[in-house]
């Protein structure tokens, strides 16, 4: 119980710090954190599949990209932002399902490759239909969430907190436990009578839901949906880094990882191109020496589960 209280305390402190940030942070850093929070949602929804279900999904940006572009296209067609977000999320879930239904028959590297191929095909489609999607330049959207850095920050912060609560709750529910069991020993989990495919599919849907919604939000935050911000494989790599750095299978670690990643990217800007090199090297060192990530490493000694 003491442990529980302590953790609650930490979470409360972080919440207060996060919520009061606009009071003491400049507009520039608010923008940095806004990006980091959206990224945190990408990373958390990826962690649900990677950490819990043990599936190497190289295609998170497939769902993010579909969500972002669907929302952007709707907005260009004249619909308001909430409708666009709903449509984008729905498109992401449907396309995630279309990908997952056949792909979940595959395992390990085969699954990883098929999700990678989905991203490559999406990239090709965006470039081929450049007249609609803006191709490699990106697609502008007429509306934005807000032009105030503070309001944007609160949108992102609220979205992050709500997503984190839901995803963390799910990961601690029977769904999370069964996924974890499946990830560790698929056959045994199935032998215990759990419908492995159904649970993985559910995880995929949840992951697609949050990825798609976050993709749509990012589009309306920046006023732009582009390959570089929502589809590129570089984003996938960053999501991987955020999750392994923060600690996979913790959900909340993914947030820490994202904040670290985006902040490091900003702070290391003076060394130019090499910042990706340094960040990747740190993440590589983390997975070799602390495979449980930062949060896993902090929690491990006190929490022998």
């Amino acid at each position: 119980m003491a442990l529980f209280r302590r953790r609650i305390l930490w979470v409360a402190v972080l919440l207060i710090v996060g919520a009061s940030a606009p009071g003491w942070l400049g507009a520039y850093f608010l923008g940095v954190f806004t990006t980091a929070y959206y990224f945190g949602v990408f990373a958390m929804s990826w962690d649900l599949l990677f950490g819990f279900a043990g599936e190497v999904n190289f295609g998170p940006t497939f769902m993010i990209g579909v969500g972002a572009y669907a929302a952007g296209l709707m907005n260009n067609a004249g619909y308001s932002i909430p409708i666009c977000l709903v449509a984008g999320t729905a498109a992401a879930v449907v396309s995630g399902l279309a990908l997952a239904l056949p792909a979940l028959r595959l395992r390990g590297p085969y699954f990883g490759l098929i999700t990678l191929v989905a991203v490559l095909l999406l990239l090709d489609l965006i470039v081929i239909f450049a007249s609609v999607t803006g191709g490699e330049i990106g697609m502008m959207v007429p509306d934005v969430l807000s032009i105030s850095a503070t309001v944007n920050y609160y949108y992102a912060f609220g979205f992050l907190v709500i997503s984190a609560v839901i995803l963390y709750g799910l990961s601690r529910s029977s769904l999370g436990l069964i996924l974890q069991a499946t990830g560790q020993d698929r056959i045994e989990a199935a032998a215990l009578g759990f419908n492995v495919t159904k649970h993985k599919l559910a995880a995929f849907c949840v992951s697609a839901f949050f990825s798609g919604l976050a993709g749509g939000m990012v589009t309306f935050y920046g006023g732009l949906a582009s390959v570089d911000t929502v589809v590129s494989l570089a984003i996938t790599v960053q999501i991987v880094i955020a999750v392994v750095f923060g600690g996979r299978r913790t959900i909340l670690g993914a947030i820490l990882g994202s904040i670290f990643l985006i902040l490091a990217g900003e702070l290391l800007r003076p060394i130019g191109q090499l910042n990706t090199f340094v960040v990747s090297a740190i993440a590589l060192a983390v997975i070799i020496f602390f495979p449980d990530g930062a949060l896993g490493w902090v929690l491990r000694p006190r929490d022998p589960t």
Binding site: Y110, L113, I128, L274, I287
Partner: protein, 291 residues
């Protein structure tokens, strides 16, 4: 005429793809490692080869030798710095080793790509042709370099098959891919065999990188796509199956060439990806996969 042109170009491209993928599949078959830094190793070989050939006047052959050596060294570094620590780590459960190897080599590949970008910029570079001149085959003008590249690929693949099928070392490699524990029980040191595989892998991949630079040219932006192509070919052919990878290399190579010539060069990668999706849905173990 166009048919013959497709036949010749497709053959050269496919041979190169085959060489690029063979090391990748051998590595998985024997060591169980999917090296997502594969494209990065090809990149190192290609860029260092080009650099030595152009800036130090080593000529295309000197550059090729340096490039292959660079590929070998990069392969050793990958093994000792990334793969072995993950395999030996006590903190990583055996069941999750594959996940860690995938993410570890992925990060390493990104580091290589960014490092090369920093050192050589991302401008595409093309190595001088190994042999200059153009030859006329039944009315199709073909660079001699292209033919030499295809021939070199096949010589390298042939040497590999001789090594695997006819020598003592090759038999150990085969045994390690079938039953590593059995081989250990017979008194063979597995780590020595792994080292041999990484050596062969480095040489093959280095050669593929150098030939690629001489055929298409290469830029540090390509590393990810090169890995994705090799991954695609290897999965299409069946993980760990060398003949399967070669077959798949030809399927992909010809699908791309036919699309580029007959439909539209911008659609080039799409048919191969669609074929892959189709094959994986119908036959998840790939064309010639064992499991």
């Amino acid at each position: 005429m166009r048919g013959l042109q497709i036949l010749i170009d497709g053959f050269a491209i496919s041979s190169l793809y085959g060489l690029g993928a063979v090391g990748f599949t051998l590595m998985f078959g024997v060591c169980g490692v999917l090296n997502l830094a594969h494209g990065g190793i090809m990149l190192i070989a290609a860029l260092l080869g080009w650099w030595v050939a152009a800036d130090y006047g080593a000529g295309p052959y000197g550059g090729a030798v340096v490039g292959i050596l660079a590929g070998l060294i990069a392969s050793y570094v990958t093994y000792f710095v990334v793969v072995r620590p993950i395999q030996r780590s006590r903190a990583i459960p055996r069941t999750e080793e594959e996940l860690f190897l995938l993410t570890g080599t992925l990060l390493w590949g990104v580091m290589i790509q960014v490092g090369m970008d920093y050192l050589f910029s991302n401008n595409p570079v093309t190595m001088q042709p190994l042999v200059p001149g153009v030859i006329n085959i039944l009315g199709v003008r073909t660079p001699q370099n292209e033919l030499l590249i295809a021939a070199t690929c096949w010589i390298a693949i042939g040497l590999l098959s001789l090594l695997v099928n006819k020598t003592q070392i090759g038999k150990q490699l085969l045994a390690a891919s079938i039953n590593p524990r059995g081989l250990t029980l017979l008194g063979f040191e597995l780590s020595r065999i792994y080292l041999i595989v990484w050596t062969i892998y480095g040489l093959l991949t280095g050669l593929a990188g150098v030939l690629l630079a001489s055929f298409f040219g290469i830029s540090s932006d390509n590393a990810g796509n090169l890995t994705a192509s090799a991954f695609t070919i290897v999965i299409l052919g069946g993980l760990g199956s060398v003949p399967g990878s070669l077959l798949a290399a030809y399927v992909v190579g010809y699908a791309e060439t036919i699309t580029a010539y007959l439909i539209n060069p911008t659609l080039r990668p799409i048919p191969a990806l669609l074929i892959l999706v189709l094959v994986l849905y119908i036959r998840p173990r790939g064309l010639l996969g064992r499991r």
